[in-house]
Amino acid sequence: MNFFLDAIAWIFDPANYAEPGGIVSRLLEHLLFTFVTLVFASVIAIPLGYLIGHTGRGRGFAIAGAGGLRALPTLGLLTLVALWVGIGLEAPYVALTILAIPPILAGAYTGFEAIERGTIDAARAVGMSEGQIVAKVEVPLGLPLLIGGIRSATLQVVATATLAAYVADFGLGRYLFAGLKTRDYAEMLGGSILVILLALVLEGIFALVQRLVVPRGVIAGRPEDVRARPIRSRAATGTPVTEGRSS
């Protein structure tokens, strides 16, 4: 328990907020690093995922490839890239982008695949071009699952971004590595708690966003939407479903 108290005391110690290299600037660095990594990964994974989801081709390749990427040990990859490009932020960006690609890719193509085939078939049959099917049907309907993929990638990156400090003086990971080296466990645990809090805050934001991007018509038809309201008021306020004008 003492470790925790020490860690909390460390977090609130004004000395640790002294710039440069204080908690606030490291927090922002960590956030920026996470954000940039997600942008890199998204730029690669979303178009690829959409292509796979729309055409239905290359799915086996994507699953095998994403599985392979997931299996790579990030620290090993980071070291390897760092040996190749040198000390600095390039190696962590590469390693973490690779870490973030699989969940975003999966979110993108499963989002498309989860759409009822009849809906897409109908969109094509009434005369939508392939581009319009993607833009007007598949992207909006697949968005909740894509956001889910980005959410999962964010969580992994924000936690693993501590490794950036392994090869560069950057982000909240610095406290972990410095604390480990100097046996300052309060600093180490304090840094970890900050990373956890950041992850939880991001998780909360994404949970909210994921709810917001579900198309309204899709929410309207969901059974849990009905359950969320008391049964009695539902019976009283619900418009009776009637057939046609004759009603």
């Binding site: 809906t119 109908a122 009434v126 939508m128 018509g217 038809g221 479903v241 046609g244």
Partner: protein, 303 residues
Amino acid sequence: MIEYRSVTKQFPDGTLAVEDFSLVLPSRQTTVFVGSSGSGKTTLLRMINRMVDPTSGTIEIDGVDIATLAPVNLRRSIGYVMQNSGLLPHRTVVNNVATVPLLRGVPRQKARENALALLDTVGLDRSLADRYPSQLSGGQQQRVGVARGLAVDPNILLMDEPFGAVDPIVRAELQQELRRLQVELDKTVVFVTHDIEEAFLLGDQVVILRTGGQIAQVGTPSEILANPADEFVASFVGADRGKRALHFENHNGSDILVDSEGRIAGVIETDAAASVPPPQSVSESKAGSVSGSGAPAQGGDQR
């Protein structure tokens, strides 16, 4: 006019869905393709808007080979109504109806007005316009599907088992609505179903298909009922089971309609009893003047 010229469709897995199919579908009439699953009826329908391209043979619409037309433009000029409506779940009813006009560049306000007018046409209340498809009943969704099919005022309307997924009462209502619409709008309708009753009710020309898209018989409902081409057709329309072969028996001065198994099909009312009803009006007489159906014959005084 739609014309199939020795059309064959073989799917990549080797299935021969349609083989050497030739037929003319007259303009401003309803042609119904009817057959059991695997008869190629949906494939035939989907070839008209190039959702399926034939392996060989050509299809012409008013003398134009559709293989020369861009699929997207062709599809925007043909109405399409499918089973389970196929509406876009994230768009409101009115936006679903306006989908194709908006793609064609009709201004939003005008497209909305036209869509609202179409809701009237298909018998939907305008208050439903801003609901989402998931908030409507199955029958209402099908009506929205029909309105969307009519949104660009197409000459041709393709309907792929549009009433297959709704309950029998709603189906009967929708069938009557379609008959009314057909009189009102005068489109060339191509309709696919596996329900022979539906085919006889809606079709000006009925095409009975057997496996592989082979035509078993083409004709008006009365032609087919009067002269089934072969055993297959007879069995398909139910004539072999005596379902359609009705005769009179006179009991205590009133005419009773009896099928070949001796079941009472109904009673002929005196003013209608003067003439023998022609075969195609059987289904109408069921609903109209016949007052009792399917009751087992017990001889003697029925009514």
